[in-house]
Amino acid sequence: MNLSELLIELLLMPLVAFVIGLGMVLMMRKIAARLGRRIGPPLLQPIYDIIKLYGKRTQISHGLIHEIGIIMAVGGYVAAETLLPVPGMNGLADKGGVITLAYVMMIPSLGMALGVGQCANPNGSIGISRALTAMLAYDIPFILVIFGAAYVYGTTNLADIIAIQQQQGVSGWGLMQMPLLALAGMLALPAVMGKQPFEIYIAPAEIATGPMVEMSGKFMGGLFVMQCFQLYTAGVLYTTLFLGGGAYWITFLPKIYAVVAIPMAAAMLFPRYRTEDVIRLMWKWPVLVGLMGLAVAMK
């Protein structure tokens, strides 16, 4: 794989991720609408929102760190996408394994936290403190699942993990080999994606959408782009670990959308949990199931 091919891949993967991410955002809003017996937004609504936000004539910024925060948020995920192998493009999977990916996924939230910090808005700070607590909550089962998968496959390189699962076909999938770990992953997924029951940090009425309180125009646009990447990364990582990852696109896309659709459908029916309930929930069931899965997988 020579350098130029790799560079093309590095350019292509984020774009692909962005487009699929937009589809996921649309699907999320459609599911939410359909559950409320509404028609839901038109097909290209996420694109319209983003273009409108970037097209805003005036924007306010609270300082250089506010701008750098948004740049880190979008840039962090662009870098994270290159670590996620997709059919035909392995990107940097072998350069940094799944642990590196888990850490690179933390950079955008830290960047956003810095940006919101400089806005000097109490709502923002409360939102960020809740977001970081939620991250502490969901990262423990998430890391357990990653450890289990890395141990069972014996490697942290995602490209190898896909290859191993592809060999035995469907029976080789992570889901088949370690069902409990897959279940734990699925339980933790809504929190990783930061969706409904676990998005107390965007509580609109209570703290005016928390971190996004002072985001206008291109800042808000950046966060919408980040949301697409967030959904995409969570979905693709789960598929790579448990659903045999991407061999060809036609099987890969339905898998990702299915993986993302399940938690979203469940999510829209729940009210938001308080922060301590998020932690209690995330540390109780997913961790329990995860540990059992680990015990089974490691014997």
Binding site: L10, P14, L53, G55, K56, T58, Q59, H62, G63, I65, I71, M72, A73, V74, G75, G76, V78, A79, A80, T82, L83, L92, D94, K95, G96, G97, V98, I99, T100, Y103, M106, I107, L110, G117, Q118, A120, N121, P122, I126, I128, S129, R130, L132, T133, M135, L136, D139, I140, I143, G148, A150, Y151, T156, N157, D160, A208, G217, K218, T275, M298
Partner: protein, 626 residues
């Protein structure tokens, strides 16, 4: 006069020079020059760091009471010496500019501070150069007393905490001495080699006893869990640059000694065979679990601190756990991770302490509830703290990530999920508390009284900038540090890590930081492009803020800083029961009551009665004898 002797001589000179130049302004720069001299002398022995040279021994050797003392430098001591002299250099540079003036005006003596710092560096070099167990112990005692001197330079409370440290340190030293003498009686000499040859023949109980004594003795200095209460307060109260130095390297001397004794001599393999009765754990697992709990408990205590220095000091304890955990895994990845974490932690802990001292220098307080919004007035200190906290939290662009990645990769390969989980809980706790630190100090609402403060003086900024660049560069090219570590692994007898400039290449998932960080920077570039595609944004005043239709005014303080993680504290609040402080209190009160009992003996009781009792007892025992 071998290079080692020259180094030790110059280091001793650095101790003497401040005593003469005294409180004048020249002391700081002069001391910094002397440290650079020491650094150059150390670099002359750089071969040690790259595995090419054999250990450099010192010409001096003593023959006392039939015991032979000699000193030598090998790759391990060279690596630690590099960090020590680097930290000493930058701390004294930090302490030589405006800070020195302020310190002197506040009535404390600059002579004593620089002498104490130099003494610390000298004693650490002596410890690192120890050739056998006795000189190791002598160096160990000198280091603990030198850091006692450094800690007691602060206010009265500093004296109290330094006093508490001395009790812990000396008790630990007594345990180590006991261990030494036990070894001497078994092997007949204090040589490392003799001890190493005798280990296989020792039965399990003696190895348990030695392991317990050495682990406890050295653990006190490393602030392992049961003995960690003294460190946070003592380091927080030490004057600014002193805290930066102590935080960076002082408690790693315990790790050095532990590597020398537990890893180099007894060997981790032997520890694995030591069974803990009634459990499936081995000696190594026991220490690994102590290390993991040392990661978790202090980090979550740091979360609750509202004084910046205390928060950082508690993190110093927490990060020590990673180093020990890494070394205890003892394969090429884990030990490299543990050793590299020593270097990484020294760099970002020093820069964090320095930036907090700069904030104290300008605003007068380090209480997180009284600061806020300083990024507008102290941007470079903010940059230094930002790079420091990304390092401390172990996130990719900085070097903290590489060492944590190595430790995690080793834990995965070795297959111990609970240790892995404990370490990750520690990392997440760190991320939470470091964000609280930077948010409450630099971000948020700038208070009225801080509107016209200035950036830290240049004498403080230069060390911070140098350290931040070191943190970033060694994160980008970890190979630079991994070379030294490979030679250390070779010297200590651990499997050597195959590495290249970017990181580690293993077929089952390696790490190439050059690619990861370049992609990250490229990602930031793309993010910037996407960001700049929008129209120009306008900077607004901090009062032009959404507050639910309320008109914000400058005199109201709306910064959210107290009880920063209410949700988490709501859940785990009751778990903070200060059980370790209760344990320490319990021990002290038992000693107190027993001492009261003994004093009762000497009150005006009837002495004659005692005499009679003893004699009758002795006679009966004797008469009974034949």
């Amino acid at each position: 006069m071998t290079p080692l002797d020259q180094l030790l001589l110059l280091s001793a000179l650095t101790v003497v020079v401040p005593l003469f130049t005294g409180n004048r302004r020249i002391t700081g720069p002069l001391a910094t020059l002397l440290y650079t001299g020491q650094g150059l002398l150390l670099l002359r022995m750089a071969g040690l760091g790259y595995g090419s040279e054999t250990p450099v021994s010192s010409a001096v050797s003593l023959q006392v009471l039939g015991l032979e003392l000699h000193w030598r430098f090998d790759a391990l001591s060279w690596f630690f010496a590099l960090i020590t002299i680097g930290a000493g250099l930058l701390s004294s540079w930090f302490a030589s500019g405006e800070w020195a003036q302020r310190y002197r005006d506040s009535g404390s003596s600059l002579r004593l501070f620089h002498a104490a710092l130099a003494l610390n560096v000298f004693t650490m070099l002596v410890l690192l150069a120890s050739g056998e167990l006795l000189s190791l112990f002598i160096g160990w005692e000198l280091v603990s007393w030198a850091s006692f001197l450094m800690m007691s330079l602060g206010s009265n409370t500093a004296l109290r905490y330094a006093m508490r440290y001395v009790t812990y340190a000396f008790a630990g030293a007594m345990a180590v001495l006991m261990g030494l003498v036990l070894v001497y009686t078994r092997t007949g000499s204090f040589e490392f080699q003799a001890f190493r040859d005798a280990v296989p023949s020792m039965d399990a109980d003696t190895v348990w006893l030695l392991f317990g004594l050495f682990a406890a003795g050295f653990g006190v200095k490393m602030a392992l869990l049961p003995f960690h209460l003294w460190q946070a307060k003592a380091y927080a109260e030490t004057p600014g640059p002193g805290a930066a130095f102590l935080g960076a390297i002082s408690s790693r001397m315990g790790l050095f000694a532990m590597i020398v004794v537990l890893v180099q001599i007894i060997g981790v393999a032997r520890l694995v065979e030591l069974p803990v009765p009634f459990t499936f754990l081995s000696g190594r697992d026991l220490l690994a679990w102590v290390a993991v709990f040392t990661i978790i408990f202090p980090t979550f205590t740091a979360l609750r601190q509202h004084d910046a220095r205390r928060l950082l000091a508690w993190h110093g304890i927490g990060q020590g756990g990673y180093m020990l955990l890494g070394i205890l895994i003892a394969d090429d990845l884990g030990s490299a991770g543990g050793l590299m974490h020593v270097f990484n932690h020294a760099t970002y802990q020093a820069v964090l302490f320095m930036s907090v001292t700069a904030v104290i220098h300008r605003t007068g307080t380090s209480d997180l509830n009284k600061l806020g919004g300083l990024v507008a007035r102290m941007p470079l200190s903010f940059l230094a703290m930002l790079i420091g906290i990304i390092g401390l939290a172990g996130l990719p662009p900085m070097n903290g990530f590489v060492s944590k990645w190595l430790v995690y990769r080793a834990l995965i390969l070795e297959g111990s999920p609970l240790l892995f989980l404990g370490a990750v809980i520690g990392t997440l706790g760190t991320i939470l508390s470091v964000y609280k630190l930077i948010h409450n100090t630099f971000l948020g609402q700038l208070r009225l009284e801080h509107v016209d403060i200035e950036e830290a003086p240049s004498s403080m900024l230069w060390p911070m900038m140098i350290l931040s660049t070191v943190v970033f560069v060694t994160g980008y090219f970890p190979g630079l540090v991994l070379d030294w570590i490979a030679s250390v692994q070779a010297a200590v007898g651990l499997p050597v890590l195959a590495h290249h400039l970017g990181g580690v290449h293993i077929d089952k998932g390696g790490l190439d930081m050059i690619w990861v960080v370049s992609v990250l920077l490229a990602g930031f570039g793309v993010g910037a492009l996407v960001f700049l595609s929008g129209n120009r944004s306008k900077r607004v005043h901090q009062l032009d803020n959404y507050a639910g239709g309320h008109f914000l005014t400058a005199d109201t303080r709306y910064q959210y800083s107290d009880n920063f993680y209410p949700g988490l504290m709501h859940l785990i609040g009751p778990w903070y029961r200060k059980s370790f402080r209760w344990l320490e209190g319990g021990f002290v009160s038992t000693v107190d009551t027993v001492s009261q009992l003994m004093q009762g003996l000497y009150r005006h009781t009837h002495p004659a009665f005692y005499l009679l009792a003893v004699v009758v007892f002795a006679l009966s025992w004797v008469m009974g004898g034949d």
